[in-house]
């Protein structure tokens, strides 16, 4: 899924300088310890540490302060959306998606309009 998302962002015309990948929330927290980022795209349904637990942990990570988080998931549950948004997620993209849908959700977040 990580490659698909990256491909969609490139297809949407976004200029990606560097992309860091992680297989789950715990790995992502480790990546963030040493790598500042502009945007976090995160699935909910992941092994080890899911996306909802991951965003709950983000306030304790210096490199994640003020960084927008957009969730990408198959979960259509409204409670998941509410929970993700209540913990700071700025957007929510449901799979399957088109590159245009990714762009619609990501660009306003990067521009601070969402």
């Amino acid at each position: 899924m990580r490659k698909i998302v990256e491909r969609s962002l490139r297809q949407a015309g976004l200029d990606l300088t560097k992309v860091f990948e992680a297989g789950n929330g715990a790995e992502a927290l480790v990546v963030l310890q040493t790598n500042p980022v502009d945007l976090i795209l995160c699935d909910i349904n992941m092994p080890v540490m899911d996306g909802l637990e991951f965003i709950k942990q983000l306030p304790g990570v210096a490199n994640a302060k003020g960084v927008p988080v957009v969730m990408i998931t198959t979960e259509g549950s409204e409670s998941h959306v509410v929970e993700a948004l209540s913990h700071g997620a700025r957007g929510y993209i449901r799979k399957p998606f088109t590159p245009e849908q990714v762009k619609e959700h990501v660009v306003p977040v990067l521009e601070g309009k969402s």
């Binding site: 490659k3 992941m46 092994p47 549950s77 799979k95 399957p96 998606f97």
Partner: protein
Amino acid sequence: MKSANELLAGKGTHEAWTPLLEMATREVFELMLGCQLTIPAAAEEPIPEVTAMVGLAGQLCGVLSVRCDGKAAALMTSKMLGVELDKVGPEISDAIGEVCNMVAGNFKNKIAGLAEGCLLSPPTVITGSNYSLHCLAESPGLELRLLFERMPIVISLEIHS
């Protein structure tokens, strides 16, 4: 739209879900792989070299699986990741697992109550040629046979409750 419980309590539950499963599958292939699935003229059984499975738990318990041969799995991966077919490698498992995950999620989101009341497991993918799958589900499941770029794929939903 009927809830999952109403459908499960009713007669012909499984048949009622077949069009939703087909729609969910078609949407995933159209949006993520950019291709249309077609109906085979005759039932074709793929050599099951790749089987992806996602568990469903909660209001609906069961397993959704996608199975196909290695060639179809490689082409799906190529289309989904935008890489040349001859450069596709071990990411096949991730790609097919993700297809299965998206079909399962898209399917449950089409049934009232299941988006909230049913959770998905992370995908499991089996590859190889010398294996068989045995389902101990109590109910007869759903099975869709479709063609992906003229290659047979099978989408199954085994229902446990």
